[in-house]
């Protein structure tokens, strides 16, 4: 259970609270944070400022915000699913939006879950715990050999 968690989040408050929520739930995995979609793609595919990164190392789970500057969450999801290196990585859409369109579009593009960040921190902590337990411990993910 030492896989990397890739958190794609442009809001620093949310980043801190998410980290705190993981911490509160004793999730010890390494958390890589990308602050927008561009950065996330660069890290995933070893491009741009992350050129040369060993792309055989891919995250155990991606927590992906929908609304972000430069490259949005839905586009990142699309790219992840289109690339052999990342197509099997579980992606959880973690967003403030409850827009029906985003929800449907996300699942169409191959998201594994869609979680709405609650305003209440307690509820948020609960949600993160549930996510962690399910995706990092219960769920058996497929991997390419």
């Amino acid at each position: 259970m030492n896989g990397i968690i890739l958190l794609v989040e442009d809001n620093e408050d949310d980043e801190i609270l998410t980290r705190r929520a993981f911490q509160k739930n004793n999730v010890k995995n390494e958390i890589v944070v990308a602050h927008d979609g561009r950065e996330a793609l660069d890290w995933l595919f070893g491009e741009g400022e992350h050129a040369g990164r060993d792309t055989t190392v891919q995250p155990e789970i991606v927590l992906l915000d929908v609304n972000m500057p430069r490259v949005g969450g839905l586009e990142v999801l699309e790219r992840i699913r289109a690339d052999d290196r990342t197509s099997l990585v579980p992606v959880v859409m973690l967003t403030s939006s409850k827009q029906e369109e985003d929800l449907v579009r996300s699942y169409e593009l191959g998201a594994n879950s869609y979680v709405r960040k609650p305003v209440e921190f307690d509820a948020f902590v609960d949600a993160v715990r549930t996510l962690g337990i399910y995706w990092l411990m219960i769920n058996e993910r497929a991997r390419r050999k």
């Binding site: 408050d13 609270l17 967003t95 403030s96 939006s97 409850k98 960040k117 305003v119 921190f121």
Partner: protein, 682 residues
């Protein structure tokens, strides 16, 4: 015509028969004369012959007298001789006279005369010698000479008699032939004349019966004709009239016949009319006036001489009434067509030329109809449009069915108008198209309004889209800071609790609580906005089941409140919207009855509507005018929580179904919310 030619034939036949009889008479007369002369001829011949025989006798007497004288020398015999000689002379002259017409007999007569003269002179010389006393020898010689001469006379006589007998035979034959032919001719002629006469008579008799018969037929015909008939002679006097004429004129036939026609058939030209024989009024004997139609025809005899005239007339008051009714009906239909507020036009089917246009059409086209009649689309409208119209017209006529053209442009003098046109083929009894009827409604204004509406709808859609993206950013952008406020307040309480006194901790909890309420408020507002435009899927809903699901959650939060849900409540509606309704109403009911020791919530049907009833705080309905407006609160937030837009949301969800919601409430007694989920049917 037939009877006239027959009559003429009969007359000719009779004339021929008469002529034949005359010819026959003349012929008979002539042959009778001939016969009489033939008979006279025969008698004549007989007379000649008898005289010749008597001459022979007289000659014999003279001979005998001479002989007797010679034997006896008695002078008395000389006297006999003288007598015989006188007789001979008389007969000779008679015979000569009788045979004067016959040259051959005259020649023989001369011979006879010569022979007789010599005989007579021989006889006289013998007598003289006797007297002188001649010897017996001399006497014998004289007798021999006398005998020779006697023979000579006899020869000539015989020749003459023979000749007369031949003549007699010939004449008898001729007479017989004449009699034979006369008889023949008489028979044939008489027979022919008789036949012709018989034929002519039968013809004439037939003609006369035909005439009598046709006279009867004429009288019957006249009286059975349904129109009045008056016959007038060349003097202008009435010769005949039938029963109808009697009735119409008021005159009895017996009184009218012989009167001048103008006295009986009195006409006034009063009535308006333009046709021949129209517009005449007959003034009857009693003075009553009657509209009639009449016709007059001259009568011409076979030989072409004028024979007066015949007037035929009839009472046209019934026809006039029918005609007036027809005119009234036509005018009525015309005025309907004329006043239809849509353009009505008719084109004939062959060349598609205009035959009719009503007033609305004139106004629409900006053309007086007189200018349009007999012309076609190409004479008035832009080429392309005219072609399209003609094509559509032909299609309609070919298909033989009413055709609807929802929208077609037409450039008129007043500018472009848009028409909604229906074209109808009008066929004759055999089903061939005769006319094209068109009814066009000017939809220019409507089309304009429609376009404006479409523009407004587009604008609304655009603004809805804007609103949506606004809602989206509200959802996302407002929630994130709220989460931060709550999250970091929580972090402070968690990590720095020891460094804060009770007051500080309370502040942080209030900060956190306010952030959460604002989150709820934002969610509620977003839901309210979404309700207005979310698509609805109407289906059958088990309301009891739905309410039970919601109530079981609420029962956990409000354990002191009892809930009673009527079984088998069913409705048709959109599940999402109905859930919002029931959720909010039950929420409210539980909330407001939560302060009761024994709170009670009911969900059921009454007054033709579903209801949710509580025994909670209640409110004054009179002051609750804006019960269903957003952000309307009737209790302090500290007393009962909530966003203040729950009922607004409920009302909107119900209105999406076409239903109604209303409330009955008594302060401190409780509240009932009634709602329906469909438009009232009665």
């Amino acid at each position: 015509m037939r009877t006239t030619s027959e009559a003429r034939g009969a007359r000719v036949a009779a004339a021929i028969a008469l002529l034949l009889l005359v010819i026959l008479g003349v012929f008979v007369e002539r042959t009778t004369v001939d016969l009489r002369s033939a008979i006279e001829d025969v008698q004549h011949t007989h007379e000649v012959i008898s005289r010749l025989y008597r001459l022979d006798d007289a000659l014999g007497d003279a001979e005998n007298a001479r002989r007797a004288h010679a034997l006896t020398a008695d002078a008395a015999f000389v006297t006999d001789y003288e007598g015989a000689r006188g007789q001979v002379q008389a007969l000779r002259s008679e015979i000569r006279e009788l045979t004067r017409d016959n040259v051959g007999q005259q020649v023989r007569m001369n011979e006879l005369d010569a022979a007789i003269d010599r005989r007579m002179s021989a006889l006289e010389s013998a007598i003289a010698a006797q007297r002188g006393g001649a010897d017996s020898e001399h006497a014998a010689a004289a007798t021999r000479t006398g005998q020779a001469l006697g023979l000579r006379v006899r020869g000539v006589l015989d020749a003459m008699v023979a000749q007369e007998h031949r003549l007699l035979d010939r004449r008898r034959n001729a007479t017989e032939i004449a009699v034979h032919w006369q008889r023949r001719a008489q028979m044939v002629g008489a027979a022919t004349a008789l036949i012709l006469l018989a034929w002519a008579i039968s013809r004439m008799r037939r003609e006369s019966t035909t005439r009598a018969r046709s006279e009867a037929a004429l009288a019957t015909t006249l009286h059975s004709i349904a129109e009045g008939v008056i016959a007038i002679d060349t003097e202008g006097r009435i010769t005949r009239m039938n029963a109808v004429a009697e009735k119409l004129t008021g005159w009895k036939r017996d009184d009218a016949v012989g009167k001048p026609a103008d006295d009986v058939f009195r006409l006034e030209r009063e009535r308006e009319g333009d046709g021949e024989g129209e517009g005449k009024v007959l003034v009857a004997k009693g003075g009553t006036k009657l509209p009639i139609a009449d016709a007059e025809a001259p009568i011409t005899a076979l030989d072409g001489t004028p024979g007066g005239s015949v007037v035929v007339f009839r009472d046209v008051s019934a026809e006039l009434a029918v005609e007036a009714e027809r005119r009234r009906l036509t005018a009525f239909l015309d005025s309907i067509v004329e006043n239809i507020p849509h353009m009505v036009f008719v084109k004939e089917a062959t060349h598609l030329r205009f035959e009719l246009l009503n007033r609305a059409g004139e106004e629409l086209l900006g053309l007086p109809r007189a200018e349009l009649m007999g012309k076609s689309d190409a004479d008035f409208f832009p080429e392309e449009q005219a072609k399209a119209f003609v094509q559509a017209d032909r299609d309609v006529l070919a298909r033989g069915a009413v055709t609807d053209i929802p929208e077609e442009p037409l450039d008129t003098k007043r500018g472009r108008v848009w028409l909604h046109t229906k074209k109808v083929p009008v066929t004759d009894q055999a089903g061939r198209p005769r006319y094209l009827l068109g009814i066009s409604e000017d939809i220019t204004q409507r089309k304009k309004a429609h376009e404006e509406l479409a523009a407004a709808r587009d604008a609304l859609a655009a603004s809805n889209e804007e609103l949506e993206s606004f809602s989206y950013s509200v959802a996302h952008d407002l929630r994130a800071p709220l989460r931060a406020i709550d999250g970091f307040s929580q972090a402070l309480l968690d990590d720095y609790r020891e460094e804060l006194d009770a007051n500080g901790q309370d502040f942080l909890r209030r900060i956190s609580g306010a952030a959460r309420r604002m989150g709820e408020l934002i969610d509620a507002l977003l839901q309210l906005a979404r309700l207005s435009r979310a698509e609805t899927a109407i289906q059958r809903i088990d309301l009891s089941e739905l309410a039970r699901g919601i109530a079981s959650d609420l029962a956990v939060r409000y354990p002191s409140t009892e809930i009673a849900i009527a079984p088998a409540l069913e409705a048709r509606g959109d599940v999402g919207l109905v859930r919002v309704v029931v959720q909010n109403l039950l929420d409210n009911a539980f909330k407001f009855s939560s302060k009761r020791e024994a709170g009670r919530v009911e969900f059921g049907v009454a007054k033709g509507a579903f209801f949710v009833r509580d025994n909670g705080a209640g409110f004054d309905v009179a002051t609750a005018k804006n019960l269903f407006g957003a952000f309307q609160r009737f209790h302090k937030a500290s007393e009962f929580g909530g966003t203040g837009i729950g009922l607004a949301t409920v009302q909107r969800a119900i209105r999406r179904h076409g239903g109604k919601i209303w409330a009955e409430s008594t302060p401190d007694k409780g509240t009932s919310f009634f709602f329906t989920l469909a438009p009232e049917t009665r």
